[in-house]
Each structure stands twice: as C-alpha cells, then as structure tokens.
Amino acid sequence: MEQRLDWTLTEALDYDHGRGDPFAAAVRSTRMAMIITDPNLPDNPIVFANRAFQQLTGYERHEVMGRNCRFLQGGDTDRRTVARLGEAIAKGHDVSVDLLNYRKDGSRFWNALFVSSVRDDEGRIKFFFASQMDVTARIDDQSRIAQEKARVEAEVGRRMAQLQNSLEAQQLLLHEVDHRVKNNMTMIGSILRLQMREADDPRTKALLRAMMARVDALAAVHRSLYQSEDITRFDIGTYAVNLAQDLGQAHPDSNIRIRADLSRAEVPAGQASAIGLIINEILTQTVAPPEGQHAEAVVTITATTEGQEAQLTIDVDGNRDAAPSGLGALIIARLAAQARCRVGWNATQTGTRLHIAATREST
C-alpha cells in the first residue's frame, strides 16, 4: 500500500523535487504515453497517467484519474479490436493492438496500444501497465500505399486494355489490307485475262500470257503467305509443288507428273515475291508445253534446309531442253541477285536440273 501511494505521489512530483526515484521520474517525463490501471478497483480505473499521455490525449490528469480508459474510444473505433483487448485483459494476457482513439477535442488518432499485467509474488495481478503511441502517420502511410497500389493496378489494367484494343485494331487493319490486296490482285488478273482475249496477234497473246503467269505467281505467293500459320515465313517447296500442279492440271492433254519430297524450306516473307517469281519462270519455261503442243515430263521437286540455306531442286525429266532466255532469263538473274539466292541450271542426261539455294534469314 505504501508503494502504491508512492506511485500516486510520483505523479504529483516534479523531477527536481528531490523525491529521488529515478524510475518514476523517467516514466513521468518520457515521450512515450503511459498509464497504470488497477484491476482491483471497480471498472479497472486509471491510477497513473504520465505527461506524455496527457499531451497525446489532450485530457488533464484530473480528468482521467479514476476512469476506465474506454473514454478514448469513439464511434469509428473497431469493436472487434476492443473485444480482443477486453478479452486479453480479462485473462491477464499481454496484448498489442492498433486502436482508433479520440482526443478530448474530438480529433482522432491511431493508438498503438500495448498492455501488460504486473503481478505480485503470488502471481495475482496488481496492475496493468499500458503504453500508447500515436501511429496515425504509419496507418495513413499503409492506407496510402494500399491506395497507391490499387491505383497502379487500375492503371496497369487500363494500359493492358488499351494495348489489347490497339492489337485488335491492328489485326483488323491487317485483315482489311490483306483483303484489299487480294481483291486488287484478283482485279489485275481479271483485267489481264480479258485483255489477252482481245489480242489477235499470237506474239502479243504469248507476251500477255507470260505477264499473266507472273501476276498469278505473285498472287499465289500472297495467298500462301496469308494462309500459312506464320506470315513472316515462306515455304518454297510447298509453293513450287502447288505451282507445278496448277501447270499440270492446266494442261490435261500433256502428261506432266509431279513427285515431291518436301522438308521444311522456309525463307523470310520479304524474299517471297522474288523467289516465287524465279520458281515461276523456271517452271513455265521447263514444264509448260508451248502453246498447242503436247508435253511429256516427270517433275521431281525436293526441298530441304541445310545449315543456313533453304534448298530447292527441280528435276525435269522429259522432252524439254530449255535454258532460260529472254525476259525470263533476265528476271531470274536479277531477282536472284536481289534475293541473294543462287540459281543453278544443268542439263542432265534426260532433262534439266535446277537448283535454288536461298538464305533462311533476312540479310
């Protein structure tokens, strides 16, 4: 009882009053708000409150002494946290909570409250010691960080949606352009074919037919690119076989048989038109019979990739002995230089062997 009186007395004493208890003086003058409550009195009232507590809460000492500290709570104080606190105190456990408290003037602050029990030698709780710290800034920071995080996430979501939209717009544009290119190529083909019918002179007709075949070859390149999985790659083996089949079927009176042994042999799309035209020149000159004539040929097409090169071999076994001439020869030479591919042309015992080697990657 004497001791308790000393505590109470300490509250009234100044540091330099000479009472001489350095611990009491420290508790009294520390910046940490502290109170002591007595659970052995009705409603566990405050029996000590230091100066920092008075400064934190705005209450004078005489206004808090003898009261339960629940007067610090207010309308927005979380009831569950209060219940947790009450339960710990009832059981005599230490407890640490962040609690929304109210000052005398009604302003709010976040209180990092720590409560521990003080027991006597028999283990009976004599006091509760509680320290309070204003952590409003920390809680605000946390909520600001949470808000900022939500804002950034919303922004990321918005940008993702924008990207998605712009990707879809681009795909739409690509399809639209593709569609128009194809329609225009169809028109060009139709106009050329119609013009060809007007030509009486066989030489003009033959020239227009060669022109037509080149436009058709370009159209076939475009079609094969846009029908494939990867529009950036062009498979020369498949293309050559399709072109040769079209030639064969266009001349049902001739006997043109096609054999194919194709592995993947791709070149970049940028080279597709040039190489497609080269293959067209080769096939029309070696496989297609001259107007009104019958052809007998076996065409063997082999495609592979060796190292950095796509390789295409066309063996024409039959009655043709055609080295390229005229515009055809010029087109092959110039386009081969442009597309950096090598075109070889050898006579074999029974026909002609053509070989094209093109780099797989853009140079």
Binding site: H175, D178, H179, K182, N183, M185, T186, M187, I188, G189, S190, I191, R193, L194, R197, M212, D216, A219, A220, H222, R223, Q227, V241, N242, Q245, D246, L247, Q249, A250, P252, D253
Partner: protein, 149 residues
C-alpha cells in the same frame, strides 16, 4: 482447250463486274456453260426456279449488303442438288462446316487454279473414275466428300 466429259451449268455470283466476266470466260474456256451471273442475293432470288445450276461460284461480299452465306442458304433451299463453291479473298469469314457448301477457291485465283478446280469438281460430281486428288486451288468441305460416295 479442255473438253469436259459433261459440261456443267454454272451460276456466277460476284459483284465485281470484271471478275465476274473473267470467271465466266475461264468457265467457258474449260468447256462449261455460264447460265447466269448475279451480283447480289436479290439477283439470285430473281432467277427462274427451273434454271437449276449444277455449280455455283459464290463471292462472299456481295452487292446490296448481302453475303455469299445468304446466297448459299437460298441455293441449299431452292436447288439442293447444286454444288456451291465460295470464291473469296476472306476465307476466314466462312464457318468451319461451310454451312453445307462444298468448298472454296481463295482469291486472288489463277485461271489455272479455277480450271483445275472445275475439272476436279466435274469428275467428283459425275463420279468419273477413281476419286482424284483435289487441286491446291480448291479447299474441299465435308459436303463435297459426301458426293463421292
């Protein structure tokens, strides 16, 4: 040029006049007959009922905001025996089951490609000889395979 075993009566549905004319000439060069040209669904509706084509080549985007799919539906109802082949620059617009149509020729087509497709279709429709391999220019639909059995 080619002599067909039995010439086909062909309907051309295409809103570009030049392309329709070109297709018509390719068809006639191959020995078949163009019995009518139409630019829209309404044009096809206006054709006489008894003028049944063996084959219809149908573009997708047609005049008067009509589509090749609508024309196909009309033909399926009106002339169930007619083989419909879409001729389009937009093959992705065609549903996977072709809605009962028989195939497609991708634009830009070549005269060789169309001729080869006509030859193939004629052989399948008249069940001439063993089933030939479809040419590269023609994408075949399930309905066409059904004709061969």
């Amino acid at each position: 040029m080619t002599q067909p075993i039995s010439p086909l009566d062909v309907l051309v549905v295409e809103d570009e006049f030049l392309i329709a004319m070109d297709l018509g000439m390719i068809i006639e060069d191959a020995g078949h007959r163009v019995i009518a040209s139409a630019a829209s669904l309404q044009d096809v509706e206006a054709l006489p009922q008894d003028n049944r084509p063996d084959l219809a080549l149908v573009d997708m985007q047609l005049a008067r905001d009509t589509t090749g799919l609508q024309v196909n539906a009309l033909i399926r109802e009106r002339w169930p025996g007619t083989v419909v082949v879409f001729v389009t620059a937009n093959p992705k617009k065609i549903p996977e089951d072709f809605e009962g149509a028989h195939g497609l020729i991708a634009k830009p087509f070549t005269s060789l490609g169309v001729t080869a497709a006509l030859t193939y279709l004629e052989r399948v429709m008249h069940k001439v000889g063993p089933a030939p391999a479809a040419p590269g220019s023609l994408v075949t639909a399930p309905a066409l395979a059904a004709l061969r059995v």
